[in-house]
């Protein structure tokens, strides 16, 4: 059940921004696939057909050059504005589309560079223009054409693609739907076919994994926007978020190594935080910089926190970011002091409701 607590000014500001963004929002929906042949075009254009049958004003602004028969069969039921030839290439017929101005426009294949002389260098930029005119756009793309994933995809498939779409465009979508159907392959295979198909199967699995994680990230982004819009200060813990607390004496190498492995296996997020201390010795300063460098090299996002009470600063930050796992080093302060005032590790554990705390040896 939603936890209602008073919002900080920062949260209020973000809520207002989220509300404003929602109000002026254009509407983009993306069908994400992980390989050709998974039926992305069919799923998308079948939605076009259903919308049209329900009486919506639907136009198809782009179709792929080669179409499987089941997609071919859908086309007579749809209004298609063909691509325009410009020089040697083709591009969406922007003038015709803007003039026709349908309620919903379908673009099959978002990752195309436009030929010179077109309105925009790329098709996804055309789509942004269409969205600005107030029409809803529904498009499709395969994971290998996401710019930021290009290297990972190349490592998997050995092929390099040249025409891509930035991940920020994908993340700006209001809705994303993953087409996770397997490429048309039989469930039952002979043993020889089995081993022959294994390599390709493995490539496809890795692409699937990439696509699923990207879709999850987009959904996670939508979830936080949604919760902000409704002013709910709460996190659902749908994604593992690990916060490693860095101190000059902590065994940061082991902490970061473990955090990296867990973050990778859970497809989670890794953050390292340090609470600024008013007085710090030069040796500690050097040690701290070294430790922050280790975290940085492992791909952790670094946050410098402020606050007289380090435990409080860490917990406030962790709660506002929806941290699910907090990593801390063993307290070195033993003896009378901690017996009288409680040691920071115990205090942190006691106040860390809602997240797991992992205490590391020295």
């Amino acid at each position: 059940m939603p936890e209602i607590r008073r919002k900080t000014p920062d949260e209020l500001l973000r809520q207002v921004q989220a509300e404003e963004a929602a109000a002026k929002k254009e509407h983009l929906k993306i069908f994400l696939g992980y390989a050709s042949g998974v039926g992305k075009s069919f799923r998308m254009l079948d939605e076009a057909r259903r919308r049209r049958e329900r009486g919506q004003d639907v136009v198809v602004g782009a179709i792929q050059p080669k179409l499987p028969p089941e997609v071919e069969a859908l086309l007579p039921k749809l209004e298609v504005i063909p691509l325009k030839t410009i020089g040697d290439g083709t591009a969406i017929d922007m003038e015709a589309l803007i003039q026709r101005h349908p309620a919903v426009c379908f673009i099959d294949g978002l990752a195309y560079d436009n030929p010179p002389g077109a309105r925009n260098p790329t098709r996804w930029q055309d789509v942004q223009d269409l969205l600005r005119t107030g029409m809803k756009v529904i498009g499709s793309i395969n994971i290998q054409y996401v710019d930021e994933l290009r290297e990972q995809v190349e490592a998997i498939t050995g092929k390099r693609v040249t025409q891509t779409v930035p991940v920020s465009f994908i993340k700006s979508a209001d809705e994303i739907e993953i087409v996770d159907a397997p490429p048309h392959e039989p469930l039952v295979r002979s043993l020889e076919e089995e081993s022959g198909a294994a390599k390709r199967q493995q490539q496809l699995s890795k692409l699937r994994e990439l696509a699923l994680v990207l879709a999850a990230d987009v959904v996670d982004h939508q979830l936080s926007e949604y919760l902000e819009r409704y002013g709910i200060s709460q996190h659902f813990g749908t994604q593992e978020r690990i916060l490693v607390c860095i101190t000059p004496r902590a065994n940061v190498r082991e902490m970061i190594e473990t955090a990296r492995v867990i973050a990778d296996r859970f497809h989670g997020e890794l953050i390292a935080a340090y609470v600024q201390q008013p007085e710090i010795s030069p040796e500690d300063r050097v040690a701290l910089d070294e430790k922050l460098a280790i975290a940085w090299a492992a791909g952790a996002r670094i946050e410098i926190l402020e606050g007289e009470d380090a435990v409080g600063a860490i917990l406030d930050f962790a709660k506002s970011r929806g941290i699910t796992q907090l990593f801390i080093g063993h307290s070195q302060r033993a003896g009378l002091w901690s017996r009288l005032f409680g040691n920071p590790v115990d205090r942190l554990i006691r106040r860390s409701h809602g997240m797991d705390v992992r205490v590391f040896p020295h």
Binding site: A198, L212, L223, F236, H267
Partner: protein, 402 residues
């Protein structure tokens, strides 16, 4: 003669009723049938959905078995009839379903095991909220404690897990148009389970879980096809996880969480409870009674005259809770042990050191017990003593009570 191979299992994973799991399963069944395979429907839940029912046309359906339970009639899958029919492929809707009492097996997934053992390929459906290890997260998201759960290893052994996706908005439209439920039921559903934020959160869980299942399989494929690339498919000997089982109700959550982490790390996982024996137990019980409980309760305990010794002086309720938790752990394929010792902390940490445990999982005591009884001491003392391993203090996800 070649040994009969085990059937292949494919799971269509969704995040709510109405996303189209059954529809997609039937779609694939039709394709398999058109390729000449012998496909039957073993169990199918029509929910009165027209599109879905239309997909079953021309498919052979094995009649369900009707069972009488407390005056009501319940229809269950007729596993014996399917085995007698021996198709190549069988469709079984709602994998996590619990059979009506009096059925031969408690769970539908156990029926499916029989079909797979007989060499039948099975297509099945499930929603993410039924996965055991996500039970606490799902409770936190939906406010509903799902009782019908399926152990993760059962899902993990599937040959393929496919995500059936639909955007929550499209799902809500379907619901409003009455495609998923009847109008009265739809209205209730819209108010509760089908709130948009809930759906978005469940969908994210399902996407991440499917990604994990895909990753797991792509690495096991490497190891079986003869590659030498090490990866998550291989057991990770760097990590060994130990879970402390107590009577605390939070132990169920602790077990789920510990097992989930060990699954993701491919680490070995053990669960132990410590029975305090003999004089030490008596002494500790006495200390506890004398120090913390009121005189009346002491008198009461003396009056009931419970034997100490083996049972470590535990009240019946505690002993039962611990037995339940150990059972639960075993059902999730966790190896369990009962340790004996004078002191929980010493016995636990000794065992951990002897067995090269690298990660110790403990439940975070409920807020009110921090200042009471021995909850506080155990966690803080372990943290103080076991300074040579990682200690994970697991917390509930629900909002803290004020």
């Amino acid at each position: 003669m070649a040994e009969r191979r085990r059937g292949r299992l494919k799971i269509f994973m969704g995040y709510a009723a109405g996303v189209g799991k059954t529809y997609q399963m039937l779609e694939e069944a039709r394709q398999l049938k058109s390729q000449g395979l012998d496909v039957v429907i073993g169990y199918f839940e029509p929910h009165g959905r027209k599109d879905t029912i239309a997909k079953t046309e021309g498919m052979e359906v094995i009649p369900r078995k009707t069972l009488d339970y407390r005056g009501g009639m319940f229809a269950e899958m007729d596993t014996a009839a399917i085995l007698a029919r021996m198709p190549q492929v069988c469709l079984v809707d709602e994998y996590p379903h619990t059979n009506v009492p009096g059925s031969e097996r408690a769970k539908r997934w156990e029926d499916v095991e029989l079909l797979l053992d007989a060499g039948i390929d099975v297509l099945t459906t499930m929603n993410i909220q039924h996965l055991e290890s996500l039970n606490d997260e799902v409770w936190h998201i939906t406010g509903i404690r799902v009782r019908e759960t399926i152990p993760d290893w059962v899902v993990h052994q599937a040959d393929e897990v496919v995500m059936v996706d639909l955007t929550p908005r499209a799902l809500l439209h379907r619901l409003q148009r009455g495609v998923v439920y009847t109008p009265e039921k739809a209205e209730r559903a819209l108010k509760n389970f089908f709130r948009e934020s809930t759906l978005v959160a469940l969908r994210e869980l399902a996407l991440r879980e499917t990604a994990h299942e895909v990753e797991h399989r792509s690495f096991s494929a490497v190891t079986t096809v003869g590659g030498d690339e090490p990866g998550p498919g291989l057991a990770d000997k760097n990590h060994k996880i130990l879970i402390l089982v107590t009577a605390d109700p939070a132990t169920a959550m602790l077990i789920r969480r510990g097992k989930r982490v060990s699954d993701f790390l491919n680490a070995d996982c053990f669960a132990v409870t410590v029975q305090r024996t003999g004089r030490a137990a008596r002494q500790q019980t006495k200390d506890k009674l004398a120090g913390l409980w009121r005189a009346a309760r002491v008198r009461c305990a003396r009056f009931t005259g419970k034997p100490l010794g083996d049972l470590a002086g535990l009240p019946d309720a505690d002993r039962e809770a611990i037995e339940q938790h150990l059972n639960f752990a075993r059902n999730l394929h966790i190896e369990t042990r009962i340790l004996e010792g004078d002191d929980v902390v010493t016995a636990l940490v000794d065992f951990a050191r002897r067995n090269q445990i690298t990660q110790l999982f403990l439940a975070r005591p409920a807020a009110r017990s921090w200042t009471r009884l021995f909850g506080r001491d155990v966690v803080e003392r372990i943290v103080g003593v076991a300074t040579d391993m990682q200690i994970v203090i697991v917390s509930g996800r629900e909002p803290e009570l004020p």
